[in-house]
């Protein structure tokens, strides 16, 4: 299938991009990796009048650690995360996700920030960003603001990025020695949207109690969802089998998926529980926590 006609505006700087957005308003859409947008355009579900291509903005393609966080620029592709030694060594949750987004070829074009901005209810990055307590840097005419991922993900395919604004960067706080995480996902085959997904990041205190916990589920509602009750249960407790079970049970309680060819509501809600539990166990194993009571 073939997209409808549009005007193409490659931009070489963020200011150029903002100017283009200001000029064309809601007719314009940002083109980054294009791995969700271009198929949507081929099916003619998306018909932007103007595409503002930010790929030429060289300075947006970066991946570095600074100010206690991993900074991923809007031009950085999933594959860069997947191949990064820094990420593999220090950001287990993020590297888990980078290996399972879409398919290995799509990951060579798709971007992390683009994925967050697309905010597909079954997308991977939003789930990980919630558990990893990420922040997004957004710039507009008014200036630059930093938005917590919880505020950023507004609704299906809708984010806090306002008309005329551009998301520049996502920041994953650098996990400490006693912090690790895991991403668990059920997909029917590589490249499919998640049937269910769960992300977990835990920080243990010196005595082995959980001092911080991020728990989120995907494909379980209009957008990636933080399992607040699970986090409350976990924080301040020592990990035990029944603690993990009751935390996982909270995921099933709040999971609100839509039935589709991937499965019915009951199955998907049960999987939210199973995957949270598996992610918790995998995380504790990575933190070298022995047999649970």
């Amino acid at each position: 299938m073939f997209p409808a006609s549009f005007d193409y505006l490659p931009v070489r700087s963020v200011d150029e991009a903002l100017a283009a957005l200001a000029e064309h308003g809601t007719d314009a859409r940002i083109l980054a990796g294009g791995q969700s947008l271009i198929p949507a355009m081929r099916f003619r579900l998306a018909r932007p009048a103007v595409l503002v291509d930010i790929n030429p903005i060289a300075e947006l393609a970066y991946l570095r650690e600074a100010d206690g966080a991993l900074l991923i620029g809007a031009g950085t592709r999933d594959v860069a995360i997947e191949r990064s030694a820094t990420v593999a060594a220090g950001y287990r949750l993020v590297s888990d996700v980078a290996a399972v987004v879409a398919d290995p070829v799509v990951r060579q074009s798709g971007t992390v920030v683009g994925g967050l901005c697309h905010n597909d209810p079954a997308g991977d990055w939003g789930v990980a960003a919630l558990a990893g307590r990420a922040q997004i840097v957004v710039r507009g005419k008014a200036g630059t603001r930093t938005v917590s991922i919880d505020d950023f993900l507004v609704d299906s395919y809708t984010t806090a990025v306002a008309d005329g604004e551009l998301a520049l960067e996502v920041r994953f706080p650098t996990p400490g020695q006693r912090t690790s995480g895991s991403y668990q996902k059920i997909e029917r085959k590589v490249g499919d949207f998640a049937t269910a997904a769960a992300a977990v990041q835990l920080t243990l205190g010196p005595d082995g109690t959980i001092v911080d916990a991020g728990v989120a589920i995907g494909a379980a509602g209009p957008k990636a969802t933080r399992v607040v009750m699970a986090e409350r249960l976990l924080i301040g407790s020592r990990p035990t089998t029944e603690l993990l079970q009751s935390a996982a049970a909270e995921a099933e309680k709040i999971s609100d998926p839509v039935a589709d060819t991937r499965g019915d509501v009951d199955f998907k809600r049960a999987m939210a529980r199973v995957l949270v539990q598996r992610a918790l166990i995998a995380t504790l194993e990575r933190l070298h926590v022995g047999e649970l009571r």
């Binding site: 809601t26 969700s36 947008l37 949507a40 355009m41 099916f43 003619r44 579900l45 998306a46 018909r47 932007p48 697309h118 905010n119 597909d120 209810p121 609704d155 299906s156 395919y157 809708t158 209009p222 839509v258 589709d260």
Partner: protein, 150 residues
């Protein structure tokens, strides 16, 4: 794909005012969200073009809207059928109109949608939200426009 929702609006206007309002194609058309164009056909129907914009899905939907009032003035049905993006959407919105006896009126509305074509299968998750919005905001707008109309 079939979808269903329901909701309630408390309208601060007398029932006869509300009833007159929702029986008027011109007034109702102004309550459709993202209305681009409305063309009155007759006393009970009009053609409307609304813009759809959810995430990647952006386009125009053309609807034929028919008002089907119940003779006892207790219930109004809105048949909204049409489509765009190579697909078909049939919305059926119904509202029970109840006089609260205090110069206010309750609209208990419910809506169902059935979609066919590429959008139903590819953009289904997107259109779900959109169809709900069309029906939900229509009644919300009725409330808004009648606020304090006496």
């Amino acid at each position: 794909m079939n979808l269903a929702w329901k909701g309630q609006e408390q309208v601060s206007a007398r029932k006869d005012v509300v009833w007159a309002f929702i029986n008027d194609p011109d007034s109702i058309s102004q309550c459709l969200p993202d209305l681009l164009e409305a063309k009155m056909i007759d006393a009970h129907s009009f053609d409307a073009t609304v813009s759809v914009a959810v995430g990647p899905v952006r386009g125009k939907f053309k609807f034929k809207v028919a008002l089907e009032p119940q003779s006892d003035q207790s219930h109004m049905n809105l048949k909204i059928s049409g489509g765009g993006l190579g697909s078909v959407v049939d919305l059926l919105a119904g509202a029970d109109v109840t006089d609260n006896g205090d110069a206010t009126t309750t609209l208990d509305w419910s809506g169902t949608a059935s979609m066919r074509g590429p959008v139903a299968t590819i953009g289904g998750r997107v259109l779900d939200a959109q169809a709900e919005r069309v029906i939900g905001s229509t009644f919300a707008n009725v409330k808004a426009r009648l606020a304090g109309a006496g």
